[in-house]
Symmetry: C2
Subunit: 300 residues, 2 copies
């Protein structure tokens, strides 16, 4: 029941958030967002991905973006990489940290990358060898940890298997994604209980979507299990591709509000975080999905 004293927030808005926008966001706007996130004290900003521009045109400018980031000391800028080709692109622009992604659901893996979970892990082992040779840090994602859009419930043990595979492969941190936001608190705890049998809790991140409004409750539940890394998206950027109109990533502002209230250190500044959210919300001409942002702007 002891909560962590400190939580690391991994900001995924520029990648996981903006990749869901219908129209690609220009590099200069992404740079403006990243700069404001740095000023708010965020120490990890997932900035883009080296995936096929044919499939994800929103991320097509990731190499250009990465090169233009005025990197701050103490801040890391992981880039998502699906395969060796992506890794080459990442290396060519001097990326120091990458993220690879697997899923805990067979159906999701089949539909998403057209292979089995086992094969997906095997494919990453090549990426991993190369990444290690170049001294890169590698973060691993597991999606569908609390449910799958195709097969529904996912057994906690399946999540643990995939998390262990990525950890054994050499990922220094495993981010557990409730991709469809269907999880509830006790299930989130059971999933963490299963995963911590294979991977130390300090290497686990909770990456929860708020599609059904459950994300903060689920985060509070896993904080109670000692999870001390949270992925979130400023202004709640990122819809849910499986339910148009529904919200996606939990908003960093709302996470920070809860952590502040719990007395947990993050190093983030709410005022500046709100400014970052305001910046991108104005560009997108959309009200922020963060309730904290709405309440505070309404109170002005």
């Amino acid at each position: 029941m002891q909560l962590p004293e400190r939580v690391k927030i991994v900001e995924v808005g520029p990648r996981d958030g903006l990749q869901n926008e219908a129209a690609p966001v220009p590099v200069e706007v992404k740079l403006g967002l990243i700069e404001r996130l740095e000023k708010a004290g965020v120490s990890v900003i997932e900035a883009g991905s080296f995936v096929s521009p044919k499939w994800v045109p929103q991320m097509a400018s990731s190499a250009e973006l990465f090169q233009q980031i005025d990197q701050k000391p103490g801040v890391s800028y992981p880039m998502l990489v699906p395969n060796l080709k992506g890794l080459e692109s990442a290396l060519s622009v001097g990326v120091k940290e990458i993220a690879i992604f697997a899923a805990a659901s067979e159906s999701f893996t089949q539909k998403n990358i057209n292979c089995s979970i086992e094969d997906s892990i095997a494919r990453y082992s090549d990426v991993m060898v190369q990444a290690k040779q170049h001294g890169l840090l590698v973060r691993g994602y597991v999606s569908c940890v609390l449910g799958c859009p195709y097969e529904g419930e996912i057994a906690p043990e399946r999540v643990a298997d995939v998390a262990r595979s990525l950890y054994e492969l050499g990922c220094y941190e495993i981010s557990l994604g409730d991709t469809v936001g269907v999880g509830t608190p006790a299930k989130a705890q059971q999933m963490i209980d299963a995963v911590t049998k294979c991977v130390p809790v300090e290497n686990l991140a909770a990456h929860f979507h708020d599609t059904y409004g459950q994300a903060l409750a689920n985060l509070f539940a896993v904080l109670q299990r000692g999870v001390s890394i949270i992925d979130s998206s400023v202004s709640g950027l990122g819809g849910c591709p499986y339910a148009k109109g529904a919200s996606g990533n939990v908003a960093t502002e709302d996470v920070l509000y809860m952590l502040n209230g719990l007395g947990i250190q993050t190093g983030l500044d709410m005022e500046r975080l709100l400014q970052a959210g305001d910046f991108i919300s104005r560009y997108l001409q959309r009200e922020p999905a963060s309730k904290v942002a709405r309440a505070l702007s309404a109170a002005d």
Copy 2:
């Protein structure tokens, strides 16, 4: 850490929700909503209030409304009553359960009803004597339990004092309201810990607003303390009067989704509850504030 096996949901949409609408909602629409809530399995529906129609025109038709409710066995329809005059009105139409409301903040009580907390409790003792003589059940509200719009933080002990006063006065259930939605999980637990020193936990209800997105996390936190009664509002009806544009009551659909996920019995049917929310959202020509409702309708 043991969660309750069963939770009673008190639906406050028709009163606490609709009293925040700019234009009063017609009696027939409220009746349609109440009927659909009954069909969804809700056993307590706060239907209206006998307050001055000058101050709260949204509730002016409460007597007419109450008389027209086709009351179902096993369902109670509490009506808010601020004073003896309100009680007389309630008795004249055969109300069997009333609710009275106090606050844990001196400033809020002064601004809201122009007297001290102590005086407010004293005033209710007359209402209570009369109510008991007529065999009415009385529910007591304490507002501002996790913060006040005027004085900020509220000590848990102050909440406990007011809750005890209402309990000693004869209220069978004390509903603890985070009126401005500023609470976070550990503070909610500390508040419950203080109150349960004076009032048995089975007589406590959590009435949390979602203005800052924290309501479900706070509810999960107090469920862990044994609280087994939750006030909520279908479709998240009810804005926050202190922050225009910000959301108010936690949505019943979102609460039910979490409780279902936790394996906690409620007697409510999600499909029918969504129909009730859809009915009132269509009338108000507004998207539901419930994320579950949005996600499920988006998935259709």
